[in-house]
């Protein structure tokens, strides 16, 4: 388990890698905002919480990570790369013609990718099935499922939450990246779902509502859930585009193209903020 300093450095490296990959995508652009909001979540999951072995990615002993919010690929691919699932060569081909790495991840267990994301509301029902299967196998492993707050507009999310609770899936941990922005603007303007915590609780979840950019609080949330039969949820309050001032809370950076000047400025900013 990484300590706070190590997690901070990891968060820096994930941000740096994400920006590199986005810049490498060139005119295709990339999902920057929703990638940068999930950095600490990935840092904590890969650095401290999940059980996995990148040398043996198919191991039955692994925890499963299901990325329902498909457009956080920059942070996701960067984490898979830093933790040995994705090679530098594969990562460098992100969004290239004929390459494996789409703008939304495609299932490849060898690369640690459990689920094909992209269409919203698809990952959580799948995660419920995986959690049911692990229970049936008697596996002690957990299923982590990352969803977006905008994604929670989808009805299938609520169908899945209902069933997770019905089946007593305490091996399921849903993480909501609650950055408050979706494609058309603020979630509160487009389709307000607040309070997510109260809604998840009313669906039978044990909920921890925390600052999604505090690795310490995230670790604490994942580690302090009780032993009840309830499924678990971490509502991670985040900032879309976190770490790069001109991207923070700007909806246009949901998917955008990074110029050279912007790229240099962004790298400088995160270095000052996270690498000191």
């Amino acid at each position: 388990m990484m300590n706070t300093e190590e997690l901070k450095l990891l968060s820096y490296n994930l941000r740096k890698k994400s920006l590199e990959v986005a810049y490498g995508a060139g005119r295709n652009g990339a999902h920057l905002g929703g990638g940068l909001s999930t950095i600490e979540i990935f840092a904590v999951l890969f650095g401290s919480i999940m059980k996995y072995d990148s040398k043996n990615p198919l191991s039955e002993e692994r925890d499963r990570l299901v990325i329902s919010k498909g457009h956080c690929v920059l942070a996701y691919y960067s984490a898979l790369n830093l933790f040995g699932f994705l090679s530098d060569e594969e990562l460098a081909l992100f969004e290239n013609n004929g390459a494996f790495l789409h703008g939304h991840a495609t299932r490849s267990l060898e690369r640690g990718i459990e689920f094909s994301g992209g269409s919203l509301g698809m990952g959580l029902p799948f995660a419920v099935g995986v959690a049911l299967a692990l229970k049936r196998k008697g596996s002690p492993n957990k299923v982590y499922c990352l969803v977006g707050d905008g994604e929670c507009d989808e009805g299938s999310i609520w169908e899945a939450l209902m069933s997770a609770s019905h089946f007593g899936l305490n091996n399921l941990v849903v993480i909501v990246d609650k950055n408050g922005l979706q494609y058309d603007g603020k979630t509160s303007d487009v389709m307000s779902a607040d309070s997510l915590s109260a809604k998840f609780q009313s669906f039978g979840f044990e909920v921890s509502d925390v600052d999604g950019h505090s690795t310490k609080k995230l670790v604490n949330a994942f580690c302090s859930f009780s032993n009840t039969t309830q499924p678990k949820a971490v509502i991670a309050n985040t900032v879309k585009g976190k770490g790069v001032s001109f991207m923070e809370n700007v909806k246009e950076w949901h998917h955008s193209v990074l110029s050279e000047a912007q790229y240099t400025a962004a790298l400088e900013e995160i270095k000052n903020e996270y690498a000191n």
């Binding site: 299932r107 459990e114 689920f115 094909s116 269409s119 509301g121 698809m122 959580l124 029902p125 799948f126 995660a127 419920v128 099935g129 995986v130 959690a131 049911l132 299967a133 692990l134 049936r136 196998k137 009805g155 299938s156 169908e159 899945a160 209902m162 069933s163 019905h166 089946f167």
Partner: protein
């Protein structure tokens, strides 16, 4: 061990209809051979004839409630972890309400689940158009990776189900008809996905039918015989991959018959093949003529669409004039 078929069993299957044969009987043989089976439904366990299975195998059954999209996702998760999911509810809710889920989990992710869509065509009678499934073949056929089966009687439904469990591909099985499904196959025979069955020889025309229309095609062929027209009848039990080798290009006329919209189903599939071959043979597509219907029981609705054996024979005679 394959499920054995004999005349007594075929009679019992026939009485139970396609759905009852699968979920009331065959599933018990399947579960013996498939310990990783997972049966899912969306609040239709009793109606699907699953009560006895649920009582005997509660650990292998998941009722997801009235949430078909979630059911597809939950099954996909089970499948990804090594279980063999069989999902059943009305055909229309699998193919239309959960269409994108079918595409995502079974098509794109290529997870080998078995969907059993019951009450297809007009089987739901007075429930009305919301419950009729007249587009499912078109939808399922258009999704990459999915095998589409459409058995003609209860015995073939059991054969299709058994084959679907064994094949490592995502499969959709379309069930038509109700209880007392007319019997076509009384003894055991080799069944192969993708290999059509010629059940009647004939020199002049070829009738290609699917689902419970195969029986009507046979009756129509007998009527045509009396008028001096010799009709070959093909049971096209697999819609995808289509057995194009069974389609005759040397007849005066090809007729397709299906309890489905004439657009996108069996007729559409055969038409695609014929045009790609540049075949000059005329094609008569019988089925639901791109319409929703007024209230009625299944037999009434089929008659409205010209799908009784008499009307089929008449229509063929007119076309041949």
């Amino acid at each position: 061990m394959p499920i054995s078929i004999n005349s007594l069993k075929a009679r019992t299957f026939s009485k139970l209809g396609q759905r009852g044969s699968i979920f009331g009987m065959a599933i018990f043989d399947i579960v013996e051979e498939t310990p990783n089976l997972a049966v899912l439904t969306a609040d239709l366990a009793s109606l699907s004839g699953l009560d006895r299975f649920v009582a005997q195998h509660p650990d292998k059954f998941y009722n997801i409630g009235i949430a078909e999209q979630n059911m597809l996702g939950v099954a996909a998760g089970l499948c990804a972890e090594g279980y063999k999911p069989v999902l059943t509810t009305y055909a229309t809710f699998l193919s239309l309400r959960s269409c994108e889920q079918v595409r995502h989990y079974m098509g794109y992710m290529n997870l080998n689940m078995v969907l059993v869509g019951s009450g297809a065509g007009f089987a739901m009678g007075f429930s009305g158009n919301t419950h009729y499934s007249i587009e499912d073949l078109a939808v399922m056929r258009a999704i990459p990776n999915i095998v589409v089966l459409s058995p003609s009687d209860s015995t073939l439904a059991v054969k299709a189900f058994e084959a679907a469990i064994k094949i490592d591909k995502p499969v959709y099985i379309r069930l038509t008809g109700g209880l007392n499904c007319p019997m076509l196959y009384k003894e055991d025979f080799p069944y192969e996905i993708g290999k059509a069955i010629k059940i009647r020889d004939g020199a002049d025309i070829q009738i290609i039918a699917t689902g419970i229309m195969v029986n009507r095609a046979l009756q129509a062929a007998a009527m045509l015989e009396e008028k001096g027209i010799s009709a070959e009848v093909i049971d096209m039990h697999t819609i995808k991959p289509l057995d194009t080798s069974a389609i005759a290009l040397n007849k005066k006329l090809i007729v397709t018959i299906e309890e489905h919209n004439i657009i996108g189903g069996l007729g559409g599939a055969v038409a695609e093949h014929l045009t790609s071959k540049g075949a000059g043979v005329k094609l008569l597509r019988l089925g639901i003529q791109d319409q929703f219907l007024k209230s009625g029981d299944a037999e009434y609705l089929l008659e409205q669409c010209g799908l009784t054996s008499n009307l089929i024979a008449e229509r063929i005679l007119e076309t041949l004039k």
